[in-house]
């Protein structure tokens, strides 16, 4: 159907929106924690999808992976624009939400199981940090302040965790 969107098929686009907008709106909301901004970014996301559907095939991603990546990145861009000073960690949106959404299956459950299994091999604080970064758009600065460690220490920790994660994911 993304292929049809490349061909400017509006009904395909409409169906794609109906099937995926709730999930992507959820992603925007999680990152931005602000409905009005999330709504604006959601619009940017679908406008991007309409115009960039042709580049989708290049990425080789599964459709949902591509859509989530676009939604997440545009949300982070918006967050960074807005952010003039670091957000206190207490304001960070709640991260633990284990309810599987109806689209949970849209990303191969094996992929999800893999990242989840690998995250559990990390120091829990670091796994939490990776999640905060991915879903909350936190920076090294935010993380360092929250954990009360120097910036470079934070970066070293996280990079070690990323190395470990990579090692686990390619196992």
């Amino acid at each position: 159907m993304i292929a049809q969107i490349v061909l400017r098929d509006r009904s395909a686009f409409s169906a794609l929106y109906d099937a995926t907008s709730a999930k992507l709106f959820g992603v925007c909301l999680r990152v931005l924690d602000n409905r009005a901004e999330a709504e604006e970014v959601l619009q940017e996301v679908y406008i991007r999808i309409w115009h960039k559907a042709d580049s989708y095939t290049v990425t080789g991603h599964s459709p949902m992976t591509w859509l989530i990546t676009v939604a997440r990145n545009l949300s982070i861009d918006r967050l960074r624009k807005r952010k003039t000073k670091t957000k206190p960690i207490d304001d960070a949106v709640e991260l633990a939400d284990d309810r599987p959404g109806p689209e949970a299956e849209a990303i191969a459950s094996s992929e999800r199981a893999q990242i989840e299994a690998c995250m559990t091999e990390l120091d829990p604080r670091h796994a939490e940090a990776v999640k905060r970064v991915y879903l909350g758009g936190e920076t090294y600065n935010d993380l360092a302040e929250a954990q009360n460690v120097p910036l470079n220490t934070m970066r070293t920790w996280l990079r070690r965790s990323l190395l470990k994660l990579r090692e686990c994911l390619t196992r």
């Binding site: 099937a19 709106f25 982070i76």
Partner: protein
């Protein structure tokens, strides 16, 4: 943030890029490198795919109807939802069933896109048959889809695909083959017209591809396209 990058390597750097952890200057120089480093793009791609499932835990939240209207207004200049048949097509279902049906409708064409079948194909074969790769071209997307049938790159080397267009004086690199599975390479618009009548070739190159922009290793296999 002046840690040496080497200790952690490009994979970690790619992960930081995907997570948007790099500072603006690092981010910019990474993007600069991405432009002509297929290996690096591969790393970014892999991390995107690894991290996206983290969003699986996020519960869907229905956006207000005006969001869709605004998108349509922006894209198609419509103030009201389109009259297309599909509007409200899914609304009669229970939400779970609708999501399942819609997901099927959406993903099924991707798995078997009718209009994206290769229309010409080449077989790249080594003279001794030790390496055979098929290449199909999808004109609509300017993609070459490559599958290794026999053989692989020599240990510690990678396979790089080249195009020698008819009348051209030098080969142009089209990209690297993945170590496993199918590789899809998008040919830039300016050289795409030369693919059908040109010769394509595979050479073995150091990891990351030819450092010079011309083949540096052995040309292992060549082929030309025929219409399907």
């Amino acid at each position: 943030m002046s840690d040496p990058e080497d200790e952690y390597g490009d994979s970690t750097l790619a992960a930081e890029y995907v997570l948007r952890l790099l500072d603006p200057s690092e981010h910019a120089s990474f993007e600069e490198r991405l432009k002509d480093d297929p290996q690096l793009r591969r790393l970014v791609h892999d991390w995107e795919a690894h991290f996206a499932p983290i969003a699986g835990e996020i519960a869907p939240v229905a956006p207000p109807p005006r969001a869709k209207q605004s998108i349509n207004a922006a894209l198609h200049g419509e103030a009201k939802p389109s009259r297309a048949w599909s509007w409200g097509w899914f609304t009669g279902f229970g939400s779970l069933a609708a999501a399942a049906v819609a997901a099927f409708l959406i993903f099924a064409p991707i798995l078997n896109p009718p209009d994206l079948t290769p229309s010409f194909q080449a077989e790249l074969a080594a003279p001794d048959g030790s390496l055979v790769v098929t290449a199909g071209v999808i004109p609509a997307t300017h993609e070459i889809v490559l599958d290794r049938v026999v053989g692989a790159a020599p240990p510690g080397r990678v396979l790089e695909l080249w195009l020698i267009a008819e009348g051209a004086t030098a080969p142009v690199s089209l990209g690297l083959l993945a170590a496993e599975g199918t590789t899809r390479i998008v040919v830039p618009d300016d050289i795409a017209p030369g693919v059908r009548t040109g010769t394509i070739a595979l050479s073995d190159e150091p990891p990351g591809g030819s450092p010079t922009g011309a083949p540096t290793g052995t040309i292992l296999a060549t082929g030309t396209f025929v219409d399907l």
